[in-house]
Symmetry: D2
């Protein structure tokens, strides 16, 4: 249980070199801090705000890059899937399939993901209550696959705004499945820039501290060497150069929370 | 513009006979009232709250039943699609493809639907602001297909509750696309029954009056001869026996709204 | 029951002449349209966003001006009270005491208002559900005064935003007390201008139509001959010059709603 | 800055003996843990959900009891005020005047409180954004009194539900005033029991940990030797017997948060 696992990487796969550079940096930090790393990156941004936004490198190329990272650094890799057909091939290259929040109620996707036997990280829909996730998990578990993680990434709060109801962390934990706190998408301002989502990167550290103080199994943070030049989620990603200090500090809160819990 | 078009039918296709019986009743009412009818029914309920819920008759069978209704009653038919692959075959049998609210940001689905050339009814996601729908419509329009309808069906408001922000109707109308008011799903209480969504059928008439008084191009109402025995959306469907009186009254509000607008 | 009563006037009392000019204009319009008028204006804006905002003419002067309008035009007058002490003197000059939304749970104020025997218009707090208003009304009714009106003016929806849940109108009507729709404050954007509240005057007509289509006993609309120069609530007030056309149209929706309800 | 100050006591003053018993227990715990204590209790519950709820011992009697606690235990005492008239007498007996959330926009109350020169703890209204509190503080500061604390106690989230947006803590801290986290009222379910507010006492410890991990100057927790028999706020108060263990644990999170902040 100790310490939290880190799910981290750049929002989308930009190139093999870029992916490997970030993986190398994260791998070194996590090794030094004794934190388990799951490398995360997307091969396709399937639900961008605008049609003009960049989509990504595509599945075949993306999965190959992720498999390369798994091999080179020996760490599990995670990517998100958007259709039942993607689940099987993705599960051959990655360790964890992630279900996007908007898709967390799509039965066929949940079943196809579950049937691969891979671990599944399901994001809680912005339109769901934390207790609704028990039904979501039960769809996956109906395949016999109980390797399920439930992930908080914010709930709709008025327009173009998300809020983290931190009570959701212990509520989702009552299912018995590990709970992940996604600090990156929790600070998203959906559609807040008109044709793109805005974000409040400055709140990643305090909210991550809060989540760890309550107690979570894993933390999800997207990172990039130059977030403001990234093709997606720039406003919410933490600069890679700040990750070591951030994680060092977060590890202390995690330890304290799990010390006599 | 006058009067509103009615999009109606049972939530899901139960059988050929059941579909035809409801179509016959709706066809007669709409004919008598001079209201255009688009018959609506789903071949697959792809995002039910629980894994144990009924899914439907399947695509092949469902599309055949819908095509039969189109032929027999001469009215356009509508069904919802859940993946890019479903769009082309569905568009061969139905006139209007509907994009479910949870899927309204899935770029591939919007593009595939648009490319069929069929009319598209996109539900506003419960997690979106009305002004965010301009970006959704632009994705479809990028295919050259401008036959787009934007549909209000409620916005997340706390947990297990939706609210209609009626300002959303004129805001979405500013796109220039016709606006649909979905009175059925607006009174849904998502996940409100634990393993299923609840609903408040009693608010369908007042909310539909309100939407028509503001001004909409079409009204979406699911109906069933015995809603409490229906395999889905029972708590929100209007009994078929009440539809004639309801529509008669709603038509008067629509006329008044469009009279000197 | 027919037609709706209009509660209208400028947000605050600016001067005797100003108040009388607006009263004269409203009185003539309402007389022509056969609509009952309750003249509304505030002698003190007790909860402005900023300390620098104008507060008003004060109680003594304000009540005298309102009493003068009552006498001159023969119409009931309404003003809002902010403390138990204000209730008795206010009730000597006006017919209806109004409880501000922020104060709708203050027991002493509700009791003091009730004890005057005057009619009471209680605004639903932005932080309350419509069904919570039964408890608010019961506090007033405990004084033996059942002359209670319950007023919808929007509910908190995220930050700096209100939404009208139109279901609240029939829900509050279940108490048996007449329901008022406040179209002016419903389009307020609280704190939306930083040091002042913003507003969306353009939504007053559609939302008022919606409320009347559902069915309300009274409509509350603030008006001013030059809203953008008004000392408060400018962004939400309807220009006086537009009131006749607006009310003519609204009266038609009210008639239709009450025709065969 | 280190450690946090504790604002604690029973929701309302029940009797001199009861108040002193709880004060004695809290005083001992805080002394042992090196935490500064501000004893809190209300002499009047001025905005109960229902008219039938208990109001309290009254101002004269309540202030005397609080002054007695201040004298006996040498700790500052806090109570809430509901009208401008109460401020001066209250400030003669207590050290901190508290402005209730519903009343945080009432200019006269804020000014009267400020003019006493006492420290002021203002609760953020459930209907306000965290940044709106700068205007509230400015009203108080206009009296020359800068001894202001800003207190988070939840924001309206749908009906009968509050949510803590933890970003509000650093946002309010940008004013330069100390920020208080009220763990008790944050877990209130307003009106959730029909004629009374419900609550979720079980979330006090995790939410308090989260707030301290983010960083606050003070923590507000109501406590009672038998919460379920208390005349108000029973469902949200922490049993007195659990306070020592809870505070011990919370102190560790506070230390860690302030260690290298």
């Amino acid at each position: 249980e100790l310490p939290f696992t880190l799910i981290a990487g750049p929002c989308q796969i930009e190139s093999r070199d870029h992916a490997q550079d970030i993986a190398a940096a994260l791998h070194e930090i996590c090794h030094d801090l004794g934190i388990g790393l799951i490398y995360k990156s997307s091969f396709d941004k399937a639900n961008r705000t605008s049609i003009g936004s960049k989509r990504g490198v595509g599945m075949a190329s993306g999965l190959e890059i992720l498999a390369g990272i798994r091999e080179k650094f020996g760490c599990p890799v995670l990517t998100d899937v958007h259709s039942p057909e993607q689940c099987k091939p993705a599960a051959e290259s990655v360790d964890v399939l992630q279900i996007p929040a908007f898709l967390c109620r799509q039965t066929d996707l949940l079943l196809a993901a579950g049937e691969t036997g891979a671990a599944i990280n399901v994001k809680k829909g912005q339109f769901l209550a934390p207790w609704d996730m028990a039904n979501v998990a039960a769809k996956i578990a109906s395949t016999g696959n109980e390797r399920i993680m439930l992930c908080e990434r914010g709930t709709s709060f008025g327009y173009n705004t998300l809020v983290n109801d931190m009570r959701g962390l212990p509520i989702m934990a009552q299912t018995g499945y590990p709970v992940v706190y996604d600090a990156t998408h929790s600070v998203q301002q959906p559609g807040g820039l008109g044709g793109a989502s805005g974000g409040q990167r400055e709140f990643v550290p305090p909210l991550a501290r809060a989540a760890l103080a309550i107690g979570v199994a894993a933390l999800f943070i997207e990172t990039h060497e130059a977030p403001d030049r990234a093709p997606s989620d720039g406003p919410t990603m933490v600069p890679l150069s700040e990750m070591r200090a951030l994680l060092t500090r977060l590890r202390a809160f995690d330890r304290l929370a799990k010390q006599d819990a």
